[in-house]
Amino acid sequence: MRADGGIRSPYAEMARFLEATGQAALDQKRREAEVLFRRIGVTFAVYTEGGDPERLIPFDVIPRILSRAEWDRLASGLEQRVRALNAFLADVYGPQEIIRAGRIPAELIRGNEGFLPQMVGFTPPGGVYTVISGIDLVRTGPDEFYVLEDNCRTPSGVSYMLENREAMMRLFPEAFTRHSIAPVSHYPEELLETLKSLAPAGCSGPPTVVVLTPGAYNSAYYEHSFLADEMGVELVEGADLFVRDKIVYMRTTAGPRRVDVIYRRIDDDYLDPEAFRPDSALGVPGLMAAYKAGNVALANAPGAGIADDKAVYPYVPEMVRFYLKEEPLLSNVPTFMCERDVDRDYVLSNLDKLVVKLARGSGGYGMLVGPHATQEQRDDFAARIRARPGDYIAQPTLALSTVPTLCESGVGPRHVDLRPFILFGRSIRMVPGGLTRVALREGSLVVNSSQGGGTKDTWVLDEAAPPAGSSQSQSQSQSRAAAEPPPGPPANDPAGGGS
């Protein structure tokens, strides 16, 4: 739904469908969906709460819809952005021209914990750093999308994209015959092809690809096992691998077997106790040496996190201009860096209009949504910003669009974001759509699964739906939307195993 309350045309038929189906049937479908997800074991571990450690992420049975034309525009913007982020990484670990050109401050890179000195002067296989990235978008108007953040480390959520689609096809087979919905189920194949394309030059025969997980207690473990299964490759933990003579092997029942490509879902710090944190039990001693000898590919490259740092984010449009000599197709949300005196003064006197985030926060913790906060909370944040300005950034609230969502009281508008997944090997590949996350609490802007967010299936309709007739549900939704409080940008997960 648009911020002005109208319904975009791709939703017109959905509106009719919802009206015809009725609340009781939708509730029934929702219960069926829950049984389905519980049975196949799609769960997400939540660290901070008591009770069931393996919780389901709420799934909304009403899909989020994009037209093919909308998606195509987004896809061009995403490809452009990912190319720029990679060019930036190659530069920042190489000649650092963007710093010398004065387009990015040197101290932003030098003092940044996302910057890995071990990667300086090394070119990863294929020259690609962000083999898998997830770019979080929000929509504010018919043709207006903003990038909330880039995830260049280990973006998660793609398994929900795939399982949501499976569930929808099972729950609403009719809808799939009426609409021409772009398929997403080939994602694992595309991922495997992308990973194989990075195999070291010395690899003879079909490359051996593995998924490296921190283990069954990681919150995204389900996704790790799901992707390994779908690709038909081994899911390994650090202890399953060892390095001898700078070659990586996995321990199998038939003895050691050489590994060529590792899709790693553990953070840089834990990859190799010899190169990074010596106390890490999750990693593989000697892995970085093997990597730098060119004997194994890692996806994503260690050190890629410098590109998705919240303090680097404001400079991404500049990267597009600098490296690609193009104008950015996707906009950034204007961002105030509390470190700068001018920005900080503005932030402190406009806290009631801004969203304040930790520059390196995760999972929607430690943030202030100004318009919804109490004076006390705002005062508290003002003090924190004054104490450690470098830790905080702030962004204006956006007039976010909403999409119809099944709630306790019926179908109502809820805020969403979108995380498309971009694969970068020899070429850039995407499946249409991505993961839609929805803030299930009315008026809420926080879509994180750890903060009461849910997910939806995302449909890219290959052709325009038949023209909409006027319908009762339109005007109902309109009045609902008008009563809403002014929205701000949703919070979202940063990269990392916990997202």
Binding site: F226, D229, T252, T253, A254, G255
Partner: protein, 320 residues
């Protein structure tokens, strides 16, 4: 296959089987305790079972040495719902699922659902589930969950290494269990044991615990006698839970695993072959003469050693 995956499958098979076996042992003891008078005899039934399941030290720490009122309730709780008992049903269900979850992709959906549904159901139980009249139903449920898991594995798994390691765990555990169930009541098989009603009940309990009371009649067409009962459980190939039947499958499964993993053989193959041969050509008279208890504890010890050799060869991830 990854060594860790093989390890998890092996222990998934073992723990799932063990949960059912503890329920079998409990069912038999419950029956004996109902028949036994005075209470002290009933208490010794429970203590014997606890020793047989290998969790005696923890139980002693819990209730002390002496007979006391409520010992049966404590024993039942210790073997069923107490997560502190590593050999209890609760810990087995938890460990089976934990192992299953780490190798979720190597399992079929039916196997996963068998494990996961058991785990979900188990978490809902409270102490009323094992009280009085509900206990036999609970034990039947646990047994049926193990049977469902075994059926799901047998009917839906590809016959590859995933199946072989899971199956190997199941039958190795089963051999261990049959030896232990028989060993609990070895006194009733001693040459000087009185062939009275109490002994008769013991033989019956042993047969019942391996679902073989009817099978005895089909094989022997005779009254129960200790030598025949022991022979059925140790040496008869027809009984799927006999030691011979288990070791026949342990040996053949290990042979197939060796062939599928580069043909290399190790100490585990030699040991499995030797144990199978000893059972295949063994005679019940000489086993009983040498003492059933010694024979069975020997089997249990060798079974543990065999498990260690299997781990060494396949599950621990040797680097060469």
């Amino acid at each position: 296959m990854l060594s860790r995956t093989a390890d998890s499958l092996f222990w998934l098979g073992r723990y799932s089987e063990r949960a059912g076996n503890v329920a079998r042992g409990l069912g038999a003891t419950l029956r004996m305790a109902l028949l036994a008078h005075p209470v002290s005899r009933a208490d010794s039934e429970w203590r014997a079972l606890i020793i047989a399941t290998g969790c005696e030290p923890g139980f002693r720490a819990l209730v002390g040495e002496t007979s006391q009122p409520g010992l049966q309730d404590e024993a039942v709780r210790w073997l069923t719902l107490d997560p502190a008992n590593p050999s209890g049903i609760a810990a087995c269900v938890e460990a089976a699922r934990r192992n299953g979850r780490t190798v979720r992709t190597a399992l079929t959906v039916d196997m996963w659902e068998a494990i996961n549904d058991t785990w979900i159901e188990f978490r809902r139980l409270d102490s009323s589930a094992i009280r009085g009249d509900r206990l036999p139903g609970f034990l039947d449920w646990v047994r049926s969950r193990t049977l469902l898991f075994n059926g799901a594995a047998a009917d839906t798994m590809l016959r590859d290494d995933a199946w072989r390691f899971c199956h190997l765990g199941t039958i190795l555990e089963r051999a261990d269990n049959t030896a232990r169930l028989l060993d609990v009541r070895h006194g009733a098989f001693a040459p000087d044991a009185a062939a009275d009603a109490a002994c008769y009940a013991q033989w019956q309990a042993v047969l019942r615990s391996v679902s073989a009371l009817r099978a005895f009649q089909h094989v022997y067409h005779a009254r129960l006698d200790p030598a025949r009962v022991a022979e059925l459980l140790i040496l008869r190939p027809e009984l799927p839970r006999s030691l011979l039947a288990c070791y026949r499958r342990v040996e053949s499964t290990l042979d197939v695993i060796a062939a599928a993993n580069g043909g290399q053989r190790g100490e585990c193959h030699r040991m499995a072959g030797a144990m199978h041969a000893r059972l295949r050509y063994g005679r019940i008279e000489s086993i009983l003469e040498g003492g059933l208890h010694d024979f069975l504890t020997g089997i249990i010890d060798q079974n543990i050693a065999l498990g260690q050799e299997i781990a060494q060869m396949y599950l621990s991830g040797r680097q060469m």
